[in-house]
Symmetry: C2
Subunit: 411 residues, 2 copies
């Protein structure tokens, strides 16, 4: 994949995430697809680490996803191995054997059981990975493990990403400082209704696997499941959360524990920030767009309408052209197939109402709207006037950059 210019929406700086007790990591060059490029991440977790995960709902999920699904049942983790360059997806029985082989090599390097090792792979689909490339590499990597800096694993998992994605939260629980660090990768093949891309979150909070799983699934809904770049969903989407449990507080054993709510909110913040980073690194993106739908008959209905708007190529190209083309928004509302009454429908860009009750708004200010559309972060709100349902989906615009990245093989 050729190098592409860094997204204009990239952050100006990256957070220096703190070490988290109970996790160490190192990266390596295994030459999976390219030479002289970091393409492997190995993480080691101390004994007692619980794990939760949300995986792609694709009917053609990758071998790595299937293995994670299997190992999540145990609820404990000692290792994570991630590679870029080859997703090993759609590689049949041989693909399944290869991920088993790689996790066995990792388990030996880390001194744990293969069922305690998780794996994620990203890159080309349909080519069997050469599992022997991990021979020796993981052993050697395991001798160099460290707790810092977190930008290193964030960089190691990048593919078409133009910037590394990190987010962290520090919160106090029972007077003790608890940490949550997260990294993510993804910029194309990104759509809601799935776990979307790769993301790994580590905390030192002691928390039972089923509680972590419940919180992760809940907050995934409003973060990774609420973004779309191109409506396409990967076969390898993986979100894993690891809790080393080394913070010296009583473990959270149940969702009824009031601390679950507090911890969940911090987890949610980290997931949300990572998800927004993914949108802002959307292939070819020049604008970040929040699509709010309110007044729908239910939250689910609002979500489907927001997704129809955020997925619409015509809406996204209009935004690229800085055109407040609310006619295309109406079109997308109409095609969602959800209850909508044209004559109650209102549309705002930012605070500027462009349509009210099914007609161009009286006092619509074209100059102000045009000025607003030049911004880098846009808010688009559709009020249906039918009920209390609401939802937000986050997306980016659709530009020549997307076509260049995904279609210009001949150039």
């Amino acid at each position: 994949m050729a190098a592409h210019p860094v997204s204009p929406l990239a952050p100006k700086s990256y957070p220096e995430l703190p070490a988290i007790s109970g996790v160490r990591f190192a990266t390596a060059e295994a030459g999976i697809k390219y030479k002289n490029r970091t393409d492997v991440l190995l993480m080691a977790f101390d004994e007692g680490t619980t794990v939760a995960g949300v995986l792609t709902r694709s009917k053609c999920s990758s071998a790595a996803v299937e293995l994670c699904r299997e190992n999540l049942v145990g609820g404990v983790a000692r290792g994570l191995v991630v590679n870029s360059g080859n997703s090993n997806a759609f590689t049949g029985m041989k693909g399944r054997e290869s991920v088993r082989y790689i996790t066995r090599v990792a388990a030996e390097a880390l001194g744990c059981a293969p069922s305690e090792v998780f794996i994620a792979q990203t890159g080309v689909i349909g080519e069997l990975i050469d599992a022997s490339k991990f021979d020796g590499v993981l052993d050697e990597t395991a001798t160099r493990m460290n707790t810092l800096p977190w930008i290193e694993p964030a960089k190691a998992i990048m593919t078409t990403d133009t910037f590394p994605k990190l987010s962290g939260a520090v919160l106090e629980i029972d007077g003790v400082e608890v940490r949550i660090n997260g990294i993510a990768k993804g910029s194309g093949m990104i759509a809601p209704d799935m776990a979307t891309m790769l993301s790994f979150v580590v905390t030192d909070m002691p928390i039972a696997a089923p509680v972590l799983q419940a919180l992760l699934a809940r907050h995934n809904q409003t973060s990774f499941n609420s973004i779309t770049v191109d409506s396409d969903t990967s076969t390898s989407d993986t979100l894993l959360a690891f809790a080393t449990g080394q913070a010296r507080v009583e473990p959270i054993q149940s969702l009824e524990d009031p601390r679950a709510e507090i911890f969940g909110q911090a987890l949610s913040d980290v997931l949300f920030e990572l998800a927004i980073h993914v949108v802002r690194d959307g292939e070819g993106a020049t604008k970040q767009v929040s699509v709010h739908v309110e007044g729908a008959t239910s939250d689910e209905s609002a979500f489907r309408i927001a997704k129809a708007i955020a997925d619409s190529p015509l809406v996204k190209t209009a935004i690229a052209g800085e055109d407040a083309n609310w006619g295309r928004v109406v079109m997308a509302v109409g095609k969602a197939g959800e209850p909508a009454d044209r004559d109650r429908l209102s549309i705002r860009f930012g605070d500027l109402t462009v349509a009210r009750n099914g007609e161009r708004a009286a006092g619509y200010d074209e100059a102000a709207t045009s000025a607003y559309m030049k911004g880098e972060e846009l808010e688009l709100t559709v009020s249906l006037g039918l009920g209390e349902g609401k939802a937000t989906v986050y997306t980016c615009d659709l530009t020549h950059g997307y076509i260049t990245i995904n279609g210009d093989y001949r150039s």
Copy 2:
């Protein structure tokens, strides 16, 4: 809308459709959006003309669509008025009044009842049309009605289309020649699951309105409802069929009449050719792609998978790049949410099998596949190996041209 280069997939010539007894037409310049541009089509049907229609399922359908829905109940037609430049969609109560006004003006010009006049409008959404622009214009147009040439109405209804779309069939029923002529417009905001764009078909076959309606709905499924350019669906999609009944044969009164099948097949051919013209004029299209799905658990399931593939921006950009990227096809199969077993899945481009039983096919010929992808008309076949269900969806590639047409307002 700026003029765009004619699609490279435009036909080399246009059919010279014959006159159809019982229908006359003329076009006019009403200055609806631009000066000096034909933007109105008026058609007049002789007494005894039956009518059927398939209209957008958009929840925000236009005023013209709503009026057609109302008038279709009567089953008879004397007039059709079509304008480009303004779709009059999302214009509330005033929009409804304006289409009533326009059909009244048309009815006076043609000497019939307003309930016998059908209307279709295409162009910008959300701006109330100035109905007074039709005053005098339709009266005058009605004095110039003719039976030929059919390319004239085909041109009058174009918007971002780069070529006019016509198709005709002549068949023999009971030893008598029966004619079917069709025209269509559309190149963006095109997706299945709706009637899609504007299309008008006229025949001299005497056929009862309910029978015509049943045949139109059935054959719309495998033509206009099986194409997609950009997955976006218009608020104004309209397909109307008019039967003047002037061919000297006994009328078809029931679907049980064996001639219904014969007539339906010819109608189907006309609808299909028009639908393919729309795909070939897809905004920015450089390739026409037929996506076949076979071996699905049902035809409906096959259709949803084919549509997921045909709608996928990643598949469409890969095709633009002449890359037989079957990994992206697998991704699209996976995201459709329909039953699919990776290990039974096979994928062919043309006759070239690239993947078989969940893996790259033994004997995959990269050079031959690359050569095939340079073609202008491509066939992509996915075999699921699960059942007997099959479907085909027709689409085009996704290129810089699409972005330029829909997003480059600033240029």
